[in-house]
Subunit: 224 residues, 2 copies
Amino acid sequence: MGRIQAERSLGDVSLLIRGDEPGSVSAVVHDGVVGVLPGNWMPAGSVMTRTAEGFFFDHPRTGERLEIYVDQIYSEQTLDEPMQTKLTKLGAEREYNDRLAERLHLIEDGLTLVDREYRTSAGPVDLLVLDRDDRPLIVESKRARADTATVYQLRRYRDHLPADPRWRGTVPRGVIVAPTLAKPAAALVATDPDLSFVRVRYDDLLGPLMPAPLPQEPLIGAPA
Amino acid sequence: MGRIQAERSLGDVSLLIRGDEPGSVSAVVHDGVVGVLPGNWMPAGSVMTRTAEGFFFDHPRTGERLEIYVDQIYSEQTLDEPMQTKLTKLGAEREYNDRLAERLHLIEDGLTLVDREYRTSAGPVDLLVLDRDDRPLIVESKRARADTATVYQLRRYRDHLPADPRWRGTVPRGVIVAPTLAKPAAALVATDPDLSFVRVRYDDLLGPLMPAPLPQEPLIGAPA
DNA sequence: CTGCAAAGAGGCGGC
DNA sequence: GCCGCCTTTTTGCAG
């Protein structure tokens, strides 16, 4: 998709070439500019040609091409069979959701979890819960700031849920749970009485778990 | 923002450290996994400590920390004063818009450009034009595929424009211009008679410019 | 295969 | 400084 043309002036860069299959590589070019993304790159599946002039990469399917003309190489290192490392991550949205699901009281009291990643016809709902009146509440959670797109997302889920046979006849509410809500998004939430926002920072999710639910049936001998 | 915890098993990686100010660096760690994004990184403003055990990065403001324990270094290269390169890019959204503004006939005939990046209370409109009936048309252009968020965005601009004194009383239309439109987004567009979609690929924007506008006033001697 | 949402996004410009 | 919007995004998952 990203047909773009870029040109870079002479200067020092770091070039990393990785082979994914025989005759097929990917490449990233980092320069002095601070940033996570490399200045240039070529996706996996590129064919590399190395000549006295430099490195040339062609991606047969997309037609993309990267040309690097070399004036001087400071140092070069090749690993024929690099040892692969495994990377595991915690604290991403998945964990934010995990922790939130265990602390529904941060949203409001009396909530019961129905499902996570519940599939509606409009997409997956982060958390589907029942409120104290057994009315479905759709929880859309964001690890970072929620914006207008988040509100539309939530509203779409909310509108589509009653199409599901299991929820036919219900009038669901929706809540955005995030550390911050952009102002225009807040205005949008305010226009809909069945939508709301609850501020939850990651640190809040390190607190105590939701209290264990009370028994559904009255205890023997307890007043009905 | 990105408070995350990650752990990586022993294996071969490429470590690039860049200094932005004295005593302050950023770092990226690439591994064998193909991809543009590095597996780990530390933002600019990190303080590096190097010991016999490895490399340690601390970001004072955010409290983030990256620890790299070194078993073996295959090769290492330091540039004290790297030569900076300049990177120029063509074909990004800015250029897509530039070219589109000069070829409004690709959208429909008889359009006149009013403004670019016109500010509504709901955000900036890519192109604001008048159609042959002097009715305002809001153009939301995407270099890549447009989706439902794009439709909501356009609809919001369309709904907010008449709040602007200059456009009070008008009933604007809206059009999405993009190479492709996601199917759910197309369904959304179809529900609104004042919204539409026009397919324009980047290659189409390499064609001839829009014909010069006809004179606004009738020529002398021409029939009124 | 298509659509959709997340990713430790970062950077830029306007209000 | 907040907020919206773009970026050559890539990747992963489910219907």
